[in-house]
Every structure is written in structure tokens, then in C-alpha cells.
């Protein structure tokens, strides 16, 4: 399969990954913006959406992976890592397809990874001026996870649940085999810590969701906190295959 798809030496080195579920109204604009501003391939992972997400992404010029049913964000993003691994990409940058993340910031998030200064670079909405406002449970959760990540890994993170990040080939290969399925961002810090990966944060802009409402309700927020804390702690003692 690999010789079928030669990787262009320059433009093909970075893969922009956009996991999408029911985002037909926004995905096209995000894909077009990314393709207009960067020479990178754009991969949309359609996580079993019943709507026109897949078609909209394809029309806008993205490579599309169609999952046969909904795997959840971790499983969807992991499919993209598998793709990047198999096709020889050197770095992956992941952004949301609902307009929450600023496409213009992709370059900023990628820079430390491309320069080789970091294995992972995470876009933070709390560094510098960003003007982000969240609900109280969300802010509480963010503080809890900051504390947890710092205590167990020593990474000084400001935005532990950010889904806007770039990783290099080494982490792509590792995550292809080990990636949490539900809420992967916080868990990823433990994995990175255990690999001695260098992680840095850069300030990015994040917006309120352009379309649809946040998936976090109060009950889900509590479940999220418990589940992520548990899997975080278990990842500290798990054997990594």
C-alpha cells in the first residue's frame, strides 16, 4: 500500500487532522481555511456521523476517513494517527471541526514540533490574552486536571483539556498503538510523561462553538471528571505495549 501513495517531500510532511461528528455545517469552512493557509494535507475523520459531514469535508478538499460507527473522539483521532503512521507523515496537528479553534494558529502550534524543540505542542486558551470564558463546572474541571497533571507528571500545563495540539512522528507512532478512547487529552500527559516526551504550550484563540452545543452537561461533567481521573491514575501504573 505504501508505494501506491508516494509522500511529497515538502507538502506531505504535516497532516492536519480534524475529527468530526455531526459537523456538516462548519466542517467545510474549516477544511477550506486550513487548505488555503497551509500546504498541508487535511484529513477529516468522520466519526460515524449520520449527516453530510463526510461529503462536506470531501467537497472542501479533505482526505476523509469514514468510521462505520461512532467510536468517540479518542478512537477517531487514533484512526488519524494510524493513517499518519502508515503514510509516513512527520507531524500531525489536530484541530476541531466546529470552528472552536482558530485555523490561523495552526502554524504557531506546529512550530515547536517542526523545529524539534518539542515532541508535543498544545494550544492553550489560558496563556496570554485569549478572552476565553467557560462555565463554572468546566473551569473547576480545568483546575482539577491542572493540579492532577502537575502532581503526577511535573508538566506545568494551563489548559489540560485542550484538543488543539501538534505531535511529532515519535508520538504519532506511539499513539497509534496506545490512545485513550473517551477523553484523551488529559490522559495523554501521563503517556507523554512516561515516554519522557517534551511538551510545551503556546497561546491560541478559542471561540464558543459555532454550531451545536457543548457536549458537557452537569452530569456528564461529573462523569468526565471521575472517568478521566481514574484512567489517568491507571495510566500511571499500566504497562505500555
Amino acid at each position: 500500500m505504501e508505494q501506491e501513495v508516494p509522500v511529497a517531500p515538502e507538502a506531505g510532511r504535516v497532516l492536519v487532522v480534524i475529527p468530526a461528528y455531526r459537523e456538516e455545517k462548519t466542517i467545510g469552512a474549516v477544511v477550506s481555511a486550513a487548505r488555503a493557509q497551509y500546504p498541508y494535507d487535511v484529513l477529516v475523520v468522520n466519526d460515524g456521523s449520520p449527516d453530510g459531514t463526510s461529503g462536506a469535508a470531501r467537497t472542501a478538499g479533505a482526505i476523509v476517513l469514514d468510521l462505520p460507527f461512532n467510536l468517540g473522539i479518542g478512537g477517531a483521532v487514533q484512526s488519524a494517527f494510524l493513517y499518519a503512521r502508515d503514510r509516513g507523515y512527520d507531524a500531525v496537528v489536530r484541530i476541531d471541526g466546529d470552528g472552536q479553534h482558530e485555523v490561523e494558529d495552526i502554524g504557531k502550534v506546529l512550530e515547536p514540533v517542526i523545529d524539534g524543540r518539542a515532541d508535543a505542542c498544545i494550544g492553550s486558551r489560558f496563556l496570554g490574552y485569549t478572552g476565553y470564558r467557560g462555565s463554572i463546572p468546566r473551569i473547576f474541571g480545568i483546575h482539577h486536571f491542572r493540579w492532577l497533571v502537575n502532581l503526577f507528571t511535573g508538566y506545568h500545563v494551563t489548559d489540560p483539556t485542550s484538543g488543539f495540539f501538534a505531535i511529532n512522528r515519535r508520538l504519532v507512532e506511539f499513539y497509534s498503538a496506545n490512545y485513550p478512547s473517551d477523553y484523551p487529552e488529559v490522559d495523554a500527559y501521563i503517556l507523554m510523561h512516561r515516554l519522557n516526551a517534551r511538551a510545551v504550550e503556546v497561546p491560541v484563540r478559542m471561540y464558543a462553538r459555532a454550531e451545536g452545543k457543548s457536549s458537557i452537561t452537569t452530569f456528564k461533567a461529573v462523569y468526565y471528571m471521575v472517568k478521566v481521573t481514574l484512567s489517568f491514575l491507571i495510566n500511571c501504573i499500566r504497562s505500555l505495549g
Binding site: E4, V5, L65, D66, L67, G75, S79, L82, S181
Partner: protein
Amino acid sequence: MSRVALISIGASVALFLYILEMVRRRKLREEYSILWLSGSLVILVLSVKQEWLGRISQAIGIAYPPSFLFLVGILFILLILIHFSIAISKLHNMNKKMAQEMALMENAVRKIEEKPGGFTGT
């Protein structure tokens, strides 16, 4: 022989035979039958050999021996449920891998089909 003993002998024999029959007809995989078979055997043995049941109950401080039978039954059910949770988690992972593989393959096939002179599916 007490009525409780007769009922538990009857029930465990019936369970044992039922599980065997399901395995024979390939409706139940062997790996899942082992816990069921051994559970029903243990209960059967303790129901027949009531003096063993009495002695064990006395040793661990259970006044009414048949309630030790219930305890054994409940423990087996617990074990079987844990076994199921593990089996489901394994299936879940396999399912996820298969979905990811499918998406990657579908993407590769599409790429080949779109190529001029590529496979057209006819």
C-alpha cells in the same frame, strides 16, 4: 436429605446438563462454559456431601449450612460477571480496531478507484 439439598442437587444437575448441551450445539463457547460448569459442579458436590458442607460452614462460622451454598452460588455469579466485563472490554477493543482498519481500507480503495485506469469495480 433435606428439601433444600434436593432442590439444589436438581438445580445444579439441570444447569450442568443445560450448559453441556449449549456447548455441544456450539451456542456457547468452551471458554465461557468453564466457569458455569465448575460452579454447578461445586454446588452439586456440596449438596450431595452434606457433611462437607456442614464442616465448612462450621469452620467459617455459618450456622445454617445451606446458606453457605448460596454464598458459593453468589460468588460464582460474581466471578462470571467479572469475566463478562473483561470479555466485553476485549470485544470493544477488537471492534474499535476493526472500525479503524475498515475506515483506512475504504480510504485506500477509494484512492485506487479514483485513479485513471484504476480498479473500477466492474
